[in-house]
Symmetry: C2
Subunit: 413 residues, 2 copies
């Protein structure tokens, strides 16, 4: 691409991101744009106008996913799609989700301006919801898009202030009276997203080409011992829940460090009872979050940790309850699309790496249904879900350019 | 003692304990009798009447410690004293504190009825406060009794509802306009108390003769790492505060178990940040409570643990702050009185053990000033500071009998 185009790309992208970020800017910090709120609707309307301004026909589906489409000249029934989600967490940043929407808009505009109409149909999607930050549901947008949303699940749910999901959906003009049908025209979906980690930054790379989204298992583990006076109970009389937990956590993490990437293991939450300085803790609840890109390995490793925990509990006379409450399988990205992105990255001399995503994304819902891949740009210090979420403009623009190159290959060739 | 006397001792003791327990009975559970409340004053008035009914002259000191005295016939300036504290924790039991008061009253009554006036003066003390449950002060009773209370400390303090310490003290008719002077007539102090642990119960013993009160050190330890996304941050990028804590706790407790009695070590409180399943914990605050009967050993062992913690923090790239906020030296009991109690226990064929106290007591304040020892009775399941605090009546009565035997030896011989 010529220099002028690149400059205009940067300006167009930057202005669009700034305009969209002004919708839902939270006075308490960062951006808060929750599903079916007025700022959420305003943001979707802004994206709709942008789509229309570049000649796309637009359409909301029944639940509020927004589509902008340019019909393909030769193969209109083969659709190449890009986009991400429009909602944010509470006090989130301006990139998680909407970077992928603005990148898809801007890359499409660049292609349309430069090359005219595509051979295959080109679509941008701005998905309704991914974060699960207002109602107890996640991936509401992508699950509806691929036709696997369960409308019974949202029938009775409400937000923290007591607003019902269905009432809020109706208020914004959407409904779920009919289940959405999976489309059969989608030949490729490419999602741009920030990394939300610090690998690219640390390794001085500008692009991550995602070949897999890690599977994850989340557990609540409860150990039951006996609460005793910290002064009057000899050590050999005790059933100390925090002692048991400490052995388990240090042993599990020692083992995980031996194994290394792509395994990650986190004990993020610890709540002893009664949680006071001079009482031997009689109980402790702690969480375990384990992720890996290989389903069998994830099962095998977590089984090993569970067995180790039960063994320690037995040795220490502690009751143990291990509750696996989330079990998401790893999701491989489409090999063919990954190869196309890598080919374009090589041709364009992008500084890239092939990597997996440790975080969850809409792409993990879409990939089992349509050929899917993701393009990551760096996150400064790996921060996201936070007002400090940030990426250098030149890194964002590199991502948009590679996305455009990829969509060109998929839709124009 | 004859059988009739023993029977009447049991009845007298039981009735007195029940009557006193009815004052301050808490509708939300157990007993709540906080310093300078009306139920506290009623309880002291009840004890005063009991003292008077057995021919004692009574006196409150300036802050509300209550004394009942029978003048010695031969050595009136040598006083033998017994008692404990009248206050309780919130929703406490009926034995912690007042067992020692009722035991002293009942043992004294038995001696006066059976042997008449003592050679040395005999006193019962019902101390104003030990628990620190209403105001941020502990041992207010015993510290005033031995003349080491610091009146500046209570000048500005108030309870959780905003009542000022000094106002409540004045309301009940007490004051601190003059510092109390340490008496020079006390030749022995013997405190009866429940064990608040389960050693006596487990070992099937009815009496514990306390030869030492353990010293204790309490710490707040803060580890600072880095909060990161649990999915996108590889293990070798992390500075996981909970991982560091787990290594420290398991290592310290492994070592403490190797050493064993009388060392106890407790990590009762754990508060990670942000304390959520999918974030690598960037910070954790945890407490350490360490007790031992030997001052040098306590210093040496906690130093060893501190060094180990700093070493682990260094290896793991964690910041560490170790705050020692309580450092109470162990307090040995008076060897001579311990021997007298043991002699009486042997003569009376009591089923006893010599032991240390892991919990704090008024005796630790009194012992550095006057010859002091304690007699423990068993606590069912070691429970105290709880409505379920309980001891079999026959065990309580054994304690009263041994106390009477001891006071006889000290005051009548």
């Amino acid at each position: 691409m010529e220099l002028e185009k690149t400059m205009s790309l940067e300006n167009t992208f930057d202005q669009r991101l700034k305009e969209l970020s002004s919708i839902g800017s939270d006075p308490t910090g960062g951006m808060t744009r929750l599903l079916y709120t007025d700022s959420w609707k305003q943001a979707q309307e802004y994206v709709k106008k942008q789509m229309e301004s570049m000649g796309m026909t637009t359409q909301f589906d029944k639940v509020g996913n927004l589509f902008g489409r340019v019909e393909g000249t030769e193969l209109p029934n083969e659709t190449i799609m890009s986009g991400s989600h429009i909602d944010t967490v509470v006090n989130g940043g301006t990139l998680d989700g909407q970077f992928g929407v603005v990148a898809a808009l801007t890359a499409s505009q660049l292609l349309l301006e430069k090359y005219g109409k595509p051979r295959r149909s080109l679509e941008v999607i701005s998905m309704a919801e991914e974060e699960g930050s207002r109602f107890p549901t996640v991936f509401w947008g992508s699950k509806n898009f691929v036709g696997i949303a369960d409308n019974d699940e949202i029938k009775d749910i409400e937000d923290a202030e007591g607003y019902k999901f269905v009432d809020e959906m109706h208020r914004q003009g959407f409904d779920t009276n009919e289940k959405q049908i999976k489309r059969d025209d989608i030949k490729a979906f490419v999602e741009g997203h920030i990394e939300q980690g610090s690998i690219l930054e640390t390794e001085h790379e500008q692009i991550g080409i995602v070949n897999s989204i890690a599977g994850q298992r989340r557990y609540n583990i409860t150990l039951k011992g006996e609460a005793n006076h910290a002064g009057t109970t000899p050590l050999n009389y005790r059933h100390d829940a925090v002692y048991g937990m400490s052995k388990m956590i240090s042993k599990a993490l020692d083992r995980a460090h031996e194994i290394g990437d792509p395994l990650v293991l986190t004990f993020g939450k610890v709540v002893p009872k009664p949680n006071t300085v001079n009482v031997v803790p009689g109980e402790v609840l702690f969480t375990m979050d384990c992720r890996h890109t290989d389903k069998n390995f994830l099962s095998k490793f977590t089984k090993e940790v569970e067995d180790m925990m039960r063994q320690i509990a037995k040795e220490m006379g502690l009751g143990i309850d291990i509750d696996l409450w989330m079990d998401e399988a790893p999701v491989p990205m489409d090999d063919h699309i990954v190869k196309i992105i890598e080919k374009k990255a090589k041709e364009g001399k992008y500084n890239y790496r092939i990597m997996h995503s440790g975080a969850g994304h809409d792409s993990q819902i879409i990939a089992p249904n349509f050929p899917t891949a993701m393009i990551f740009v760096p996150s400064i210090k790996g921060i996201s879900h936070n007002p400090a979420e940030s990426t250098k403009l030149k890194d964002l623009v590199e991502g948009v350019k590679l996305l455009a190159d990829t969509l060109y290959e998929l839709a124009y060739k």
